[in-house]
């Protein structure tokens, strides 16, 4: 019997637990259609970055103002365009098109700067037809005066505010760098987050040794990176009311299986698709199905969290012991 791959996530019923995470791939309609064709259950649209929008608007504004009304022969340097598609217009138009072009749920994603921006753009994404909204929360806080408590409180307030303004399901995609992550996760769920997405990956700066310049550099994930979400999904499963999505390092069917066993409702992948193309989704889904058949699992629902902290035979491994165990097992290989 073919196992039942369906899974519930954010109150949505997905045909399987393989979701494409927010990345430039999901912005292209033709790619999106291929991803759907190969079995993707849902896709997260690339993030709308409020900071980027503001910057683009300021650049556009500057473009038209620079040199304008300065010299009698050239009162401007660019033609006035019919439409600049300024702000979120273009993004929302693309999102709308994506929603219309595929049958699978499209989840909007948002990275805001101002509280007003978060709320305003969240509404816009809902209006554009997104099945759910993922708040892509990350920031660097170099100000020594700003405390962890401040940052967490602002985050909880933000989720509360957005939750009040939209009616579609709300997920929060988080970085792992919170000291008391479980506590924060609970507070976010209490504030109205329907799901937590663990974890987002940063565009860390890198140094070009030829030019001695610092430049942003996003590298694709590696399979080992699924360990971190695996741990936190396992720890949170059953402890928070929100759905759990595991992302980072989802490359092979085995990664999907492991994350589901640890307690994820869905797994999200992007780097593997970049490397192997949209058809890799089929590999992930069929691999999951094959593993389930082989191991006599009837459904994904049956699998989910069966090796979570609450249900694992040795739950302590998910805590610090896990590190010791790894070392111990590694030491066995030493001559």
């Amino acid at each position: 019997m073919t196992p039942d791959l369906r899974t519930g996530y954010l109150g949505l019923t997905l045909k399987n637990p393989v979701v494409i995470s927010a990345c430039p791939l999901t912005e292209r309609i033709d790619t999106l259609q291929k991803l759907e064709e190969h079995g993707a259950a849902a896709a997260v649209f690339p993030s709308l970055f409020e900071e980027q929008i503001e910057r683009e608007e300021m650049e556009l504004h500057g473009l038209y103002e620079t040199g304008a009304e300065t010299y009698g022969e050239s009162l401007s340097y660019f033609p006035d365009m019919v439409d600049y598609n300024a702000g979120s217009t273009n993004y929302l138009r693309m999102l709308e098109l994506a929603v219309q072009s595929v049958g699978i749920p499209i989840i909007g994603s948002l990275n805001g700067v101002s509280r007003g921006g978060w709320v305003r753009f969240a509404r816009s994404i809902e209006d554009a037809g997104a099945a759910a909204l993922e708040l892509n929360v990350y920031g660097i806080f170099p100000d020594p005066a700003r405390t962890a408590a401040d940052v967490e409180a602002e985050l909880v307030d933000l989720v509360t505010a957005v939750r009040e303004r939209i009616s579609i399901p709300l997920a929060v995609k988080l970085p792992p760098f919170f000291t008391a992550f479980a506590n924060l996760a609970t507070r976010l769920a209490d504030a109205g987050a329907d799901g937590l997405v663990l974890f987002n990956r940063f565009v860390h700066a890198d140094i070009d040794l030829d030019t001695l310049r610092v430049a942003p550099n996003l590298v694709l994930s590696e399979p080992f990176e699924s360990r971190l979400p695996l741990m936190w999904v396992a720890l949170l499963r059953g402890r928070v009311s929100a759905s759990l999505a595991a992302t980072s390092g989802v490359h092979a069917p085995a990664d999907v299986v492991k994350l589901l066993l640890s307690g994820a409702d869905v797994t999200m992948t992007a780097s593997a698709i970049y490397r192997r193309g949209p058809e890799h989704v089929r590999t992930l889904v069929s691999g999951l199905s094959a593993w389930m058949t082989e191991n006599e699992y009837d459904s994904v629902e049956q699998m989910k969290g069966s090796l979570s902290h609450a249900h694992a035979p040795d739950p302590g491994v998910f805590e610090r012991v896990g590190y010791m165990r790894t070392l111990a097992s590694f030491s066995r290989w030493m001559p």
């Binding site: 556009l60 103002e65 620079t66 009304e69 009698g72 022969e73 401007s76 660019f78 033609p79 702000g87």
Partner: protein, 1189 residues
Amino acid sequence: MTRRPVTVDGNEACASIAYRVNEVIAIYPITPASPMGELADAWSNAGRVNAFGVVPRVIEMQSEGGAAGAVHGALQAGALTTTFTASQGLLLMLPNMFKIAGELTPTVFHIAARTVATHALSIFGDHSDVNAVRSSGWAMLASSSVQEAHDMALVAHAATLRSRVPFLHFFDGFRTSHEVAKISVVGDDDIRAMIAPELVRAHRERGLDPDAPVLRGSAQNPDVFFQAREAASPFYDAVPSITAEAMAEFATRTGRRYELFEYHGHPDAERVIVIMGSGRDAAHHAADVLVDRGERVGVVTVRLYRPFDTEAFVNALPRTTTAIAVLDRTKEPGAVGEPLYQDVLAALSEATPGTAPAVRPSVIGGRYGLASKEFTPAMAAAVFAELAVDTPKRHFTIGITDDVSHSSLRWDRGFRPEPADETRAIFYGLGSDGTVGANKNSVRIINEEPDLYAQGYFVYDSRKAGAMTTSHLRFGPRLIRAPYLIDQAEFVACHQFEFLSRLDVLEHAAPGGTFLLNASGPPERVWDALPLEVQSTIIDRQLRVYVVDAHRVAEEAGLGGRINTVMQTCFFALAEVLPRAVALERIREAIRGTYGKRGESIVRKNLAAVDAAVDGMHEVPVPSNPTATRRRRPAVPDTAPDFVQRVTRLMIEGRGDLLPVSAMPVDGTFPTGTARYEKRGIARELPIWDPEICIDCGLCALVCPHAAIRTKVFPDGNGNGRPAVPSKPFSGRVLPEHRLSIQVAPDDCTGCGVCVDVCPAHRKEAVRHKAINMLPRADVLTRERAQYDAFLDIPEIARRDVPLATIQGSQLLEPLFEYSGACAGCGETPYLKLLTQLFGDRIVVANATGCSSIFGGNLPTTPWSCDRAGRGPAWANSLFEDNGEFGLGLRLGIDHKAKVARERLSRLAPELPGTLASELLTASFDDEADLARQRERVEQLRHALAGRDTPDAAELLTLADQLVPRSVWIVGGDGWAYDIGFGGLDHVLASGENVNVLVLDTEVYSNTGGQASKSTPRAAVAKFAAGGKPIGKKDLGMLAMAYGNVYVAQIAIGANPKQAVRSFLDAAAYPGPSLLIAYCQCIAHGLDMTKGMEHQKAAVETGYWPLYHFDPRRASGTDHPFRVDSRAPKRRFEEFAATEARFAMLRRSDPERAAELFALAQRDIDVRWHLYEQMVGVERSIPDSETAS
């Protein structure tokens, strides 16, 4: 039908009608008419339909001549067709205009009338252009105001279709074309009523059609040409009455009444001024005041200038008229009088008995207002006064002081009939701070009120970097007709504190008025920071002073340095033109309207600035006595030459109007090297050298657009007598035991930062710290000024001691192009500077009109300079279209002088000492040492010739310098080289003559504001290509290479400076025509100008701008003349395009079209590279035939 008034400038007022009436519009940019074409293009691109429901076709041509040709063709095909132009552009249309008129073809050309270049170019307004074409057989209709530019445009279109005689509709350039005013708009229904379908049909039916073939444009012989020419006469006879009917019909529909000649003034006037154009209102104001005083004066305004209706004119004069002054806004040297004067004389002479004034009036004629010279009511009053004297000047000038021919009338500057219920405001701002934009906005806001009227006029700088703008705003309860600048302002705003140190900002502040100042820091400290002159004026005139730290408020609102909204808000808060709350709400509405399309955040930030502006404004208590000791800086230093002190200084101070005729050169010849005396100090940060890190590469000086970074070497005196400048041991291969100094000219630098951006050296401990770093000007100014003075005193190194072919070496030579008014970060000027460093003491430059002629030749001061020996580039600008030919002519003239010199020298050889003559005649010039030796020989020759009084000796003395070779450089932009001047350039390149052509390729018409040229690449957004240019750029280099004997190089100084330097040297050395095509980043590309050189690199690395050279000297035998000097593209075009708004904007506005055009643009690159790769292996000549020959 009542329509809501709108606020527009004269250009838009006119274009609004022209666009809605016509079907085909052929355009070409020229100031001040360019905005009409730009608007038409933008409307067409946006799909806006004309009054007949069709989107007109707008096409940019390669010149005004081309536009006229296209118009002629479209008209002959039966389409309603128009164009817009001015000045030289109109003159280029002249041949076609004769044809169009001769063929009785209805059309209207709309002209923003502008000075025709004579002793100098001027972009400003007068009637010299329209008068120059008055023999072409066109009807000419003059508008006097923004409203009339709208209304007469329609009258002209209606009359031309009814009469079949083409119309020139004109209004004053800048004064009307750029004045912003409230007008009532003619509706489409009015247009349709005035442009009767049967007339359109008749026009179409006259179009060439193979279904009803005719022949037009025959060649005629003496037997019939004359008669055929006369056959059209009845059509001209009918024009006045047809035009009057059209005006009457227009009045019926709109309520606005016009006449062919319109009288205003005392019904029984004795003295009458006859005038045409915007000066009319100044004359009206004067007449009104004088009539109130009991004087019998009046004004006749000419509207239909051609055909000149004698009867209508005479009937417009009061029968009591005894004396007439005719004012012409033009000068026709040698004529009996100016054209309108002659018309009036002839009309009075021909008038039907009984219709003319009872007594034959005496007539005098005067010139006024040339090149937008102010014409005020006071000047008109002086003309009326002149009519009252017993023996008035028959020919006079007004508005200047003519102390040479004594033609000028004196006028009373205190005669200011400004209405009491009107408020006047002057704003001084920087071009970059948005002052003009905000003031245009304010005019619109005020004009939105049903019972208020506002007028705005804007005076722009001669400079592009750090340009100052002056806005003149009037507002009040009645329609404002004041076509002259404000003299007494109740409100003065200074948007930049620095202006106070160099300008008399309060010159026009009326007593008891308000002064708003943008000043940083606490308000209580502002008073003490004011120069003594400012404090004194404030106290003497009892001004109320308000300050706002607009930069801080704008910064906090997230607007960076854009202070326009802050200052606009403060103006409305103080001026009380509207209740404050209402005014602020109107500003908010305007912000939403103006910036809404640019994004929500822009609106939000500007709204935040409105809210914070009023809170940030404070009144400054004014003490009873001045407290300052600091005075305003003198405009030029005491050390400046006499001409600069007497003449240039006044221009710099903004008081050039006061200069008398005698102060001016009679033929437009000016001394060079005057920019160095105008110290504007516009940089906020200055680049400061760190000798410890410097690697002596010279890049900083090479790329500096303003020659504000200088390098010099001097002998290392081991500390004895070493100049008081930072220095380091020089590491070059030549000049051992020398020290190097790199120094900024602190008052000439624009702060663009390009030098810092290109600096390759950095400190190990902190990579950001380079060998040159931007520091706040205020922190370093005093020290740097002293250092720069000391630096200038360091003797220049001898040219022969420097390796020219290196970047380092070239930059040790004195630049003879310095401190121009070009944009900060300009991409053109580094090439010109390099040109002068390499050959400056022996070049003659022909400069096409455009950016380079403007920053190169616009008064008050000019950048082309000379060395201590007095040698330097000799520079001239002829026209836009003829620069190639002009430069070739220079070559021919110079060569002929050299030929005469050599011939005379040969004749005198036996009389000269030793082998001097033969050495002079056979010298070769391979390097600077050769040139120096020849100069020494020329000196010996002078000595030898001194005292000889034979004709040959005297002639040779005057021509001796010609024995040192001259290099002719033909310089211009892509608008010239690719478009308007291409035919001439092609001919010059084909001539084989030894000229060097430098094309400063910005890929758009930069000077007129970024219109597309044939150099504009595919996918770039530009004016006239708002949807992205659909076709690729012309490969100019390839066309030139086709001749086989032209040296061609494509260069990019920021990508491969060595190749650029080498190409300059090769081009100069090549004894035939050379063409250098130089990549120039431009403000019209939409980039961070600090990083212009990085963009050049990217352009080369993506293959967008491949570097190559073609040297015909390698074309013989099996050698290969063509070499590519850049590597195969490593990056995609899209990477480059993403960094420049000219491309990126299309992706934002129309992603699908962008994707399509970007793909084609990449293909253009790939194809061109493929072609060039093959060309590298091409042998240009047949080896056998070479051998045989």
